[in-house]
Each structure stands twice: as structure tokens, then as C-alpha cells.
């Protein structure tokens, strides 16, 4: 049996997410351009930069509190649709993890599910609506399926891979939620920026566990 995930993982996850947002800032702006308002990469980069600063200031000691700090910072720094949605996701995940110092595969799946459910509760999007839900839902399903032998790394790898496929799968969809929905059928043929940023964030989670 592999070891569980601890505060080091949580901090690395956040750090790698911040790196990914900085690295893909322009790409996420470009994805948001044809079907949105050209700010998703800017929003996420601004948000995760603020999270990084906050983490360095507070130095949380357990995964739950670390994710809660990230959540609160995203809520107060990102704005737009992504701020409250990612904020809620991290907040719910943090609540699910509670004060435990270490996370096993089952707890991890529960936390990912809570994150996804938080996004759905706030945004009311269903799978197929061309939103970040289309990355998170397959990710959560794959994570649950991979949890059998209790390896958190396998769980995270499965989630990341499924999220990546989910993001790609948003391309032909016609948006029914978020800004892209204003375009109606013209939204087809473009990848959803929030689904793509979700894939990067879940990939960061998997990398952080290596």
C-alpha cells in the first residue's frame, strides 16, 4: 500500500497549479476569446498568484486548511464566473478533508466528488453544457474507478487523464451555460477554457503526488 497525501502534496499541488496558470495564461485567454470575453487566463493567473502569496504568508500545516485558504483567496481575487466556481470547489474539498494530516485514496475521491458537486451546486451546469463540469465529472468518475487498490497516485493520474479528455470533448458541444451560451450554435468548434484550466489543475494534482 502506498502512502497517503499530506501537506507537502497540497502545497505542491497549489504551486504547480500556479505555475500551470502562469504558463498557460495566454492560451486560456485565447480559448476564452472566440466564445467568451478573453479573460479566463488572466483571471486564473491573477488568482493563483494571490493564492501563492497567501500560502507563503500563512504556511498552513494540513491539506484541508491549505485548500481552504486557496478557496478563500480565489473567491476574493478572481471574480468572474471562475472565481466563485473554483472557490466553491476548493472550499468543499477542504471541508471534506477536514483536519486530517493525511489523505487516503477513498478520502481523495470523496474530496474530488465534493469539489465537483460544489461547482454543480453553484453553477447549475449539467454534463454536456460545455463548462468545467465536463472536465470534473469524468475526472471524478475515473478517480472513483481507480481507487480500488488504494493508490492515490493512480487515482490522481486517472482523474487528470479523464479531465484532459473531458476538456477536449467540450469542443463540439453547444454551450448552455456561461458566456459561451450566448453564441448558441456558434459556440461549437471551440474548447471550453474552464474545462481546460480544470484539466491543468487536476494534472498538477497528479504531478504533485510524484
Amino acid at each position: 500500500m502506498t502512502v497517503g497525501l499530506d501537506i507537502k502534496w497540497a502545497l505542491r499541488w497549489i504551486a504547480l497549479s500556479a505555475e500551470a496558470m502562469a504558463e498557460h495564461r495566454v492560451e486560456l485567454i485565447e480559448l476564452d476569446r472566440p466564445i467568451g470575453d478573453s479573460d479566463h487566463g488572466e483571471n486564473m493567473d491573477r488568482g493563483f498568484k494571490a493564492v501563492t502569496e497567501k500560502i507563503a504568508e500563512v504556511l498552513p500545516e494540513k491539506p484541508g486548511p491549505a485548500l481552504k485558504l486557496a478557496a478563500m483567496t480565489l473567491i476574493s481575487k478572481v471574480g468572474g464566473a471562475a472565481g466563485p466556481l473554483y472557490g466553491t470547489a476548493f472550499l468543499r474539498a477542504a471541508a471534506a478533508l477536514g483536519d486530517e494530516p493525511e489523505i487516503d485514496a477513498a478520502a481523495l475521491v470523496t474530496a474530488l466528488q465534493a469539489a465537483r458537486d460544489g461547482i454543480v451546486a453553484r453553477g447549475k451546469a449539467e454534463p454536456g453544457d460545455k463548462t468545467m463540469v465536463d472536465a470534473w465529472t469524468p475526472a471524478v468518475d475515473a478517480a472513483a474507478a481507480a481507487a480500488g487498490d488504494g493508490d492515490v497516485r493512480k487515482v490522481l493520474d486517472a482523474a487528470a487523464e479523464a479531465a484532459e479528455h473531458g476538456a477536449v470533448a467540450t469542443e463540439p458541444m453547444i454551450a448552455r451555460k456561461g458566456r459561451a451560451s450566448y453564441l448558441g450554435e456558434r459556440s461549437a468548434g471551440h474548447r471550453d477554457p474552464g474545462a481546460q484550466s480544470s484539466a491543468y489543475i487536476l494534472r498538477a494534482a497528479a504531478e504533485a503526488a510524484k
Binding site: I29, R33, P34, I35, G36, D37, S38, D39, E42, N43, R46, I75, S76, K77, V78, G79, G80, A81, A82, G83, P84, L85, R122, G123, R176, K177, G178, R179, S181, Y182, L183, G184, R186
Partner: protein
Amino acid sequence: MKKLINDPGAVVDESVEGFGLAHADLVTVNPDPKYILRKDAPVAGKVALVSGGGSGHEPLHGGFVGMGMLDAAVPGAVFTSPTPDQILAATLAANSGAGVVHIVKNYTGDVLNFETAAELAQAEDVEVRTVLVNDDVAVLDSLYTAGRRGVGGTVLVEKIAGAAAERGDDLDAVAAMGGRVNQNVRTMGVALAACTVPHAGKPSFELEENEIEIGIGIHGEPGRHRIPMENADGITDRLLDPVVSDLGLASGENVLLFVNGMGGTPQSELYIVYRRAARVLAEKGVTVARSLVGNYITSLEMQGCSITVLRLDDEMTRLWDAPVRTPALRWGV
């Protein structure tokens, strides 16, 4: 991208600072969390109106802070809704104890952030009511989508609900008046050229020399469809028809006709559009009892316009005429 800016990341900070300096007689600016407050807020006994949204729509909303309109405006980053802590701080600063009405344009981001702020304010015992503005007929309205956007009608909601608050209506009455305006107002817009978001550095969409985009919103997002360029009368008809039919306007009714510039269109062109719209309404037996023409809710330097029609009743007309004293709209005082 050529803009009169220093740093794409500092556009909102510097612009709001300049705004505060230029209008120090009417407003104060709180730099962090950022909001613009009516100089004499909180106004004892008065219901407070707070609105906000992404920046880049100026004069909306900061330009409408002052007597007879908003008590506070909360600017987000360019085209990005503000955050709950900003909205909460503005709500608390504006509240005199009579409660606060949030005027929220219907975008997922604005709705979610204002929702969170309202919950937080209520947790601090501030009563909040929310008026959701969703007047854009370019967008199909459905329970299963994000719904219609809030666009030009927002200015009219803020003015008329602001006048209701100023005359002493209570919290529910002010919110109800905002809702009444929203129910009677419809808008549709066109872009001749896109705008460039400072941090993006590129136009938000590309139009050929001979194309226009019909049904655009106010965030540089593309519209419903793209058509070959037409003359002003033709474009006006394309915007006005769906507005009129969605409102179900009948002969004998009174309206306010609002032709809004998106930021980069000369006033002379807005009046050419106004001329046609006024004529078409007159032919339908509709009386244009009030009018507004100019750049009031913009998309940076986008070229184009929107047409907004508000069905007026006597009370709304009186509230429209009531004194207002803000940087961007001022009369009667």
C-alpha cells in the same frame, strides 16, 4: 494594441483613481477593496443601491453614483465581475440601515459573486434584495441556459430605481421598481468593429471590412450572427424589430428610446440611428416620450451601438424625470 494606458494590469486602478480625482465633489473612491461611494453615503433612512460588474463599460457603473441613482459601484477587472469581498464592503459602506438593493446584470460571474456577497451581508444583518437585469433580446431566454444578458436596460433600472429610493420608497418597493423596469425594457446591439481587452492585447473578434456582428453583448463577445454590412436604417431595423416584438409594444403606448454607443462610434452616427428608430416607432403609433442618446454602457472602444426601448408608465416617467446628480447623468439639480 494602442491605448492610453500605462500597464495593462493597472488600468482599473489608475482609471478609478483618476475618476475619483475628477469627481471628488460627488464620490469617494475606496482603493482596496475597490469601490466607488456616493460622497454623502450612507444617506440616513434611504435604501441604498449598489451595482457593479466588470470594468470597461464606463460610465457604467461608477459614473452613475450620486444623488438619485447609485450609492455605490463595484468595478471588477476589465470584463470580469468584482469579487464578493469588494461587493460586501461597498454594501456595508452604503447601507444606512434601510437595506441595500443589488442591481446585477445577468452574467454567471456577476450573479455568483453578488450572491455570495449578499449572503455575507445578510450574515452581518444587512437586508439585501437583488434586481437581476436581463434585457438582451439577442439571447434566447430559457431555464436551461445562462439566460439573457443584462445590457442597456441596466442604466434605466439604475436611474428609475435610484429615484424611487431617493423619494423614500422602502427596500421591497425599490427592488420591485427595479424589477418593473427590467420587465418592461429590451435591448439589442450591433458591433462594426471589436474592442481589445488590455490584458489580451488583441481584438476580441475579427470582422472583415464588409461584416458586422448582430446581437453582441457588452464584453467584446461575438454576437448571434454575422452579416454583410448594411446602412444605418437597415441595421436599426434589425435591432429595433426584435426589441419591439419581444416587448409586445402596441400603438398608443409611451416609451423611452435609448440609443447607446459602444464606445468608439461618433455621436453623429448614434443620432442617425435614433432618427430611424424614432420614425419606425412613430409609424407604429408608439410615442417616444423620453430619450437618451450617448455612450452610457460601453465595451471599451468597440464600434457599434445598442437600441433599448422601455415601456413607460406615468410613475416610471416621473422617476425618470426626477433629479439626478452623478458624473455621467445629471439633471434637475
